[in-house]
């Protein structure tokens, strides 16, 4: 989010999903699209059938590798080196788009310097990707007329996640692959409303539409609309709230719809934080690891029980509609306004559409959005006015930065916070499986899904399994410096030797007891995609 915002001006996908099918080259990076975003992968299939060439950047041999021209099988945590290496080759061979660089970007000379040392040999050494693959990928991507990069959490869930996203922007900018249909960068959003939750400003530094609370005019606007004095102290990011709770200076927290005690990294720290809170309220559909710390649990309403909107990964604001009455009697918007009113700040909306009207009046990008307009089909922001059709492709004329130019950010390879050693010799990558979803509180309650995918299996390469003398289906203990879990083994070629893979969907195999406390220094995102573990046969 912060990465693309720095480079291009908006922390959002630049194009529409439907444009994927018309791309000539797709670079799919850190996204197991087939499982994580099955319907996006159907658009990729369409592109393949239309003749698109595919580059896959992923440490795992994911399904899409089967359809790829090049598989960049990088070591976890070497994203920046890989992307710098690709840019190095592109510049060496003169494949960059000079006209685009000259007229629409700034900072290119610094970038040129920065990638100098990422020769193919040096890049191969860091990333483990062979020179011929690097060269093939660089040429394929750079020479394409319409190229799109689809990236997922394999890019952002590193301690250099924000920089990784900027490195992707560097690559696209160097080739002029932005600002046209079927040409751009698609950040694939993990959850239904990641884009919307970011857009709506439950965030310490920004209000809706990324309006900085540090700006007096923003604070004044919201003060006028809300009729209260806007708080002036700098807010805490969630990770800071948790840290301060452990320290004892943060006392009360309201969590709505998140199971942080299962899905955040380095769980022991989170558990300690929740334990330390003086008053803890959790609103959820089910009992979760998070609710067990609560003083009050408020039941939530599922998406089928209320009206509202979600904003998808292509910035499209779409309706959800009440199909049945809330099982618990109230939807969250009603709960929040009742609490607020009780605390002396009155809220009296009678329908969520009124909340959207208020959002539209305060948020330039959402200015033209109303329930009436999105009744038939959702609209992609920016949609500033009531007669604006919405925006399918960003940056066609200019970037959303001062001066309208995109920025090359020079980056150095830093690597993962924790690297394997003699004691913890394997790299653990965590992620999703097709059948399940996040903490699994929903999908584990779908009978059929539990028949298909009843338990967690750690994916281990055949060579590693031999070394450890373990066979398919046997139990192992996986331990890191922070915790341990017992889990069954799936011996597979999907994981390369030295890497193992776990999902985080099962509450009896809490892979986040293992993940590290390293975080992206800018966004605060944990390094879910790489930590060191050891594996012992049980």
């Amino acid at each position: 989010m912060a990465g693309l915002a720095t480079s291009l001006g908006a922390g959002a996908a630049s194009n529409s999903l439907e444009q994927i099918k018309d791309a000539d080259v797709l670079f799919i990076f850190g996204s197991n699209t087939t499982e994580g975003h099955p319907i996006v992968s159907l658009h990729v299939n369409n592109a393949i059938r239309n003749g698109a060439r595919i580059i896959v950047g992923d440490p795992r041999r994911i399904d899409l590798v089967k359809f790829s021209d090049v598989w960049l099988n990088l070591k976890p945590g070497s994203n920046i080196a890989l992307l710098n290496g690709l840019i190095h080759i592109i510049l060496k061979e003169g494949l960059q788009n000079n006209e685009f660089i000259g007229s629409r970007t700034e900072g290119f000379d610094d970038l040129k310097e920065a990638v100098k040392k990422y020769t193919p040999e040096y890049t191969e050494k860091i990333t483990g990707v062979s020179i011929d693959r690097l060269e093939k990928a660089a040429r394929l991507y750079a020479k394409a007329d319409k190229a799109m990069i689809l990236y997922g959490l394999g890019v952002t869930e590193h301690r250099t996640g924000t920089e990784n996203a900027m490195a992707i922007a560097n690559l696209a900018l160097a080739c002029g692959h932005l600002g046209r249909p079927s040409t751009g960068i698609m950040a694939l959003r993990g959850q239904n409303n990641v884009q919307g939750a970011s857009d709506m400003g439950p965030s310490p530094a920004v209000c809706t539409g990324y309006q900085y609370v540090s700006k007096p005019e923003v604070r004044e606007k919201f003060e006028r609309a809300w009729g209260v004095a806007f708080p002036t102290t700098t807010g805490l990011k969630s990770v800071e709230m948790f840290d301060k709770a452990v320290e004892g200076t943060f006392k009360g927290l309201f969590v709505m719809g998140a199971d942080t005690a299962q899905t955040d990294a380095n769980l022991n720290h989170i558990w300690k934080a929740f334990d330390a809170l003086e008053f803890f309220v959790v609103c959820d559909l089910f009992h979760t690891h998070t609710t067990r710390f609560a003083d009050v649990i408020l039941p939530g309403a599922s998406f089928a029980e209320k009206d509202g909107t979600f904003t998808n990964g292509e910035r499209r604001v779409q309706r959800i509609r009440k199909a049945i009455e809330p099982l618990c009697g109230k939807a969250e918007w009603q709960v929040l306004q009742e609490i607020s009113t009780r605390m002396g700040y009155e809220m009296k909306y009678s329908h969520p559409s009124q909340i959207m009207d208020e959002i539209a009046s305060l948020t330039p990008n959402y200015g033209g959005i109303s329930y009436e307009r999105i009744e038939k089909q959702g609209i992609q922001w920016p949609c500033p006015t009531k007669d604006h059709p919405g925006t399918t492709t960003l940056y066609e004329q200019q970037f959303n930065r001062p001066g309208g130019k995109a920025l090359f950010v020079s980056l150095e390879h830093i690597g993962s916070g924790e690297i394997p050693d003699a004691e913890y010799p394997y790299v653990l990558i965590t992620g999703r499986r097709l059948e399940h979803y996040n903490n699994g509180s929903m999908t584990r309650r779908v009978r059929g899904i539990m028949e298909l995918a009843p338990e967690e299996l750690i994916e281990i390469n055949l060579a590693d399994a031999k070394k450890l003398n373990i066979a398919n289906g046997e139990m192992v203990r996986v331990s890191s410096r922070r915790g341990q879990i017992n889990v069954k083994v799936n011996v597979t070629e999907r994981s390369q030797a030295g890497n193992v893979f776990l999902a985080f969907h099962y509450d009896d195999a809490l892979s986040n007891l293992l993940t590290s406390g390293y975080r992206d220094s800018i966004a605060g995102t944990p390094e879910y995609k790489s930590c060191a573990v050891r594996i012992d046969k049980l």
Binding site: F254, L298, A323
Partner: protein, 372 residues
Amino acid sequence: MTTAIMEDTITLTINGKAVTSESGKTVLQVCRENGIYVPTLCYDERLEAYGGCRLCIVEIKGQVRPLSSCTTPIREGMEVTTESDRITRLRKTVLELLLSNHPNDCMFCDKAGSCALQELVYRYGVRYDKYYGEMWNLPKKDDNPFISYDPNKCVLCSRCVNICQNVVMKGTIDMTGRGFYSKPDTAFSKPLTPDICVFCGQCVSTCPDAALTEKQAMGKGRVGSVDRVRTTCTYCGTGCNFYLNVNNGKIVKVTSDYEAPVNRGNLCVKGRFGYDFIQHPDRLTKPLIRREGVDDTSPEVLKNPMAVFREAEWDEALDLVASKFAELKAKYGNDSVGGFSSSRCTNEENYLLAKWVRAALGTNNVDNCARV
């Protein structure tokens, strides 16, 4: 720009009426654009035209035989007739032949009311007893959680095979056998298991009759008795739309929305089949307050939550939440409290949480899980 469009524009006549459309389109597409009815069984917008069912045949002036409109591109000056005595007779024969090897048990069938075959038979006034011959009596296959397959109802339109091979690109099923014995099936007729099938249910969504149906939805209400509510999926960030089918206050099925801008009727296993959780008995339906003096927060809590929490009415719980936050604010200052919202919640809820924290708690300590 205007000239380019002019060059690509074709004018033709359908049933005596002049219509204009873009070159490259088929006669069927142009008929549908203009609201002219042409029956189909093997056609699905998501698929390449297959031309297998022979129901979309039309007369084209200058052509001796009728042509399938789904595979015939439009040409300048073409004169198309979509319904004539000959065409009707041919269509009826196709339907009569299909019914000669079909169970014709619509009264018991889950698809009744939303079945393309039933609709066509009704429209063309076809009887099931025109032809007699050998009939299939094949075992039903539903040895998997989601997809029920009754080959006896298959009309061999190949839509399931085409969608599995060309849209999903999975190739779980294909046409097997020859002639009278051909039917879609898995290799060696193996059961559907996760190693060969992703359970997206695309095959079910495209099946024109009841050969492939949603196993979970069986007997829970046919089209006439359910309300369909269009909504957006709650799982990943793709933003697929679909219809929740509601019968008597219960979600009984998810069906495709072919107008959906992102997914055009396609769905994955979670979107199509992952709705059990909504009305699962584990759902929290009342506010819960931690029992006095019980401070257990260990994973054991999940085994018997009611030992730790007690049920409360909304008023009591909301009063407690409001008064506790007010108390903490007074005691430790506004910045000792905060809120954390989630990508699982709606835009409106995320906005309101931020507004509550900033306006009522008086702090910028508000964040969401998008960063983690």
